[in-house]
């Protein structure tokens, strides 16, 4: 199907270049060879079905395999039992029965709060540091060995340091999130700043822009996509680390809740917890992707 020709804007008699086409790809279902005419609604239904069917099949297949495995083992509940348990659990997610027995909603919120604090601090420290490292090679060389050694360390290894320094479980967990979320932030920001095209910097040099103008008009907008990629990775790592560190620190939190249910031998709740962690992690990533696309100059 041909896209309609747009009128050429004639700017002046000597200037008659067509405006660059920036048509978005038309949302048209793939052409089908059909024996008889089909209405647009039917075509649309086919397209929707075509998009939905594969994921649905995947989920059904996954549930089948799960049910099969559950049949052969003693302790693992199948999808049916888990579903019943989940309905019960989610009917009252915000109850309070003492410090160690709270609804799953409270646990989830507590985990999210820790991640938000750790992640926020990592962004506050990591992004400016990344900018400095990307802009000044001296600084980058100074920090490079430290980053290379500390970055591969498992988040949980930092937990004892946090406990020793803060002498409390909650700040230690936040510290763990902070330290594992900061590396992708620093590295990606620095990469973004270092890979600002030389052409843009040449423009800045010819104009003799001040360092501040270079930062606000060139470095910042050019590296925003990298910064947000770093933030996305950080958030993913933070969410991975929080479950593990809460298992060790206890208190309130989805990780602690999961471990607690293991002690109660409530396998349904453990499976539900895994589901919650997965869904929340996915939503966090989708949210960050949305934000990243919103601020990426390339997608405007």
């Amino acid at each position: 199907m041909a896209t309609p020709l747009r009128p050429v804007k004639v700017l002046s008699p000597s200037v008659a270049e067509p405006v660059a086409a920036n048509d978005s790809p038309a949302r048209i279902p793939p052409p089908l060879v059909l024996p008889h005419p089909v209405s647009a609604a039917a075509l649309h239904a086919r397209a929707v079905l075509g998009a939905l069917l594969p994921p649905l099949l995947g989920i059904v297949g996954f549930l089948l395999v799960w049910a099969l495995i559950a049949r052969t083992t003693h302790y693992l509940p199948g999808p049916d039992k888990t579903f019943v348990s989940a309905v019960q659990l989610f009917s009252d997610p915000f109850y309070q029965r003492g410090p160690n027995d709270q609804g799953v909603g409270w646990n989830l919120l507590a985990s999210l709060e820790r991640v938000a604090k750790g992640f926020g601090m990592a962004a506050l420290v990591g992004i400016p540091l990344g900018f400095a490292l990307g802009r000044f090679t001296m600084l980058s060389s100074a920090f490079q060995p430290i980053i290379s050694v500390l970055r591969p360390v498992s988040p949980l290894a930092w937990l004892p340091i946090g406990l020793a320094v803060f002498e409390a479980a909650n700040p230690a967990a936040i510290f763990t999130i902070f330290i594992c979320a900061i590396w992708p932030m620093i590295i990606n920001t620095a990469l973004g700043v270092a890979s600002v095209p030389q052409d843009y910097l040449n423009v800045a040099r010819v104009l003799r822009l001040s360092e501040w103008k270079v930062f606000t008009h060139i470095l910042l907008p050019a590296s925003v996509p990298y910064v947000l990629t770093g933030a996305k990775l950080s958030l993913g790592v933070a969410w991975l680390a929080i479950v593990a560190s809460e298992m060790l620190t206890g208190g309130v939190g989805i990780g602690f809740w999961l471990w607690d249910e293991w002690n109660n031998l409530n396998m349904e709740h453990i499976l539900i917890a895994i589901g919650i962690v997965g869904v929340v992690g996915m939503l966090l990533e989708k949210g960050m992707t949305l934000i990243a696309n919103r601020f990426d100059y390339r997608s405007r």
């Binding site: 804007k9 000597s14 067509p18 405006v19 843009y200 010819v206 003799r208 060139i218 907008p221 100059y297």
Partner: protein, 266 residues
């Protein structure tokens, strides 16, 4: 001829894989005020390097350049550059890109409305008033390069430096832009140094064509004055014998061995 811009015995060395590489050797060019000079040569012969020395983006190992009696050290808005790939900031509109330059050069001496007027005038000069609020991603290649030219012109530079400004454009767009550039030049009489590898472009636009030998150690082989009367019209020149003689002279230089590296003395 009084030299307004003087490139004096410039040699430039680059470091590549730990080895020194002499890109440009003993280049001497004198440009008068209001003159349009093209530098032509094969790819990689160091044409752009000479331009970048004048721009202040590359520091020569020997020699130097003087503009209006002042030694060039480092880039400056008085030597505006039109880059080959337009180098517009993709997050700013056409207006924003030009305004950034105007603001930098004139904000100390002029009011905000003055800066706005300058920006609008520059966009009007290249025929882009209607596209002022478009970002580079929404503009065609030719329009982007027009914005690049508007940005450079708006700075009212002493010398306009153009680094293969139309090299990335298709032939028809290139011709339109060359015509626009000639029109603008007839109004403003700027001092221009342009790097090109297009023989027709060099003859059509220039007062003199500087031909460079091939690198390494590229230097000036020949300088050809183009005495065709101005204003020049593309179609009239197609039948003009002088035009064809100039063209032939450059082609001969580029393809008959004189552009080859100078044989080393035994």
């Amino acid at each position: 001829m009084a030299a307004y811009l003087e490139v004096d015995d410039v040699s430039v060395m680059f470091k590549a894989r730990g080895q020194n590489f002499l890109a440009v050797k003993n280049v001497d060019v004198k440009v008068a005020q209001g003159e349009f000079v093209s530098i032509i040569g094969h790819s990689g012969c160091g044409k752009s390097t000479v331009l970048n020395v004048v721009a202040g983006l590359v520091e020569p190992q020997a020699g130097g350049a003087v503009l209006n009696g002042r030694q060039i050290d480092g880039p400056s808005p008085e030597r505006a550059v039109v880059f080959q790939n337009h180098s517009l900031l993709p997050w700013l509109t056409a207006y924003g890109n030009v305004y950034l330059a105007v603001e930098r050069v004139f904000s100390a001496t002029e009011s905000k409305s003055g800066l706005k007027a300058r920006t609008e005038a520059a966009l009007a000069l290249v025929g882009l008033t209607a596209a002022r609020d478009k970002r580079p991603g929404e503009l065609s290649g030719g329009m982007k390069q027009r914005v690049g030219i508007a940005r450079a012109l708006a700075m009212e530079p002493k010398v306009l430096l153009m680094d293969e400004p139309f090299g990335a454009l298709d032939a028809l767009t290139r011709a339109t832009l060359q015509d626009s550039l000639m029109e603008i030049q007839n109004q403003l009489h700027m001092t221009v140094v342009m790097v090109t590898h297009d023989v027709d472009e060099a003859v059509l636009l220039s007062d003199r064509v500087v031909m460079m030998t091939n690198g390494p150690a590229a230097t000036i082989g020949q300088i050809l004055p183009i005495t065709l009367p101005r204003p020049r019209a593309r179609l009239d020149l197609a039948e003009n014998t002088d035009y064809h003689h100039c063209r032939a002279a450059i082609l001969r230089f580029l393809h008959e061995g004189s552009a080859r590296p100078i044989p080393k003395a035994a």
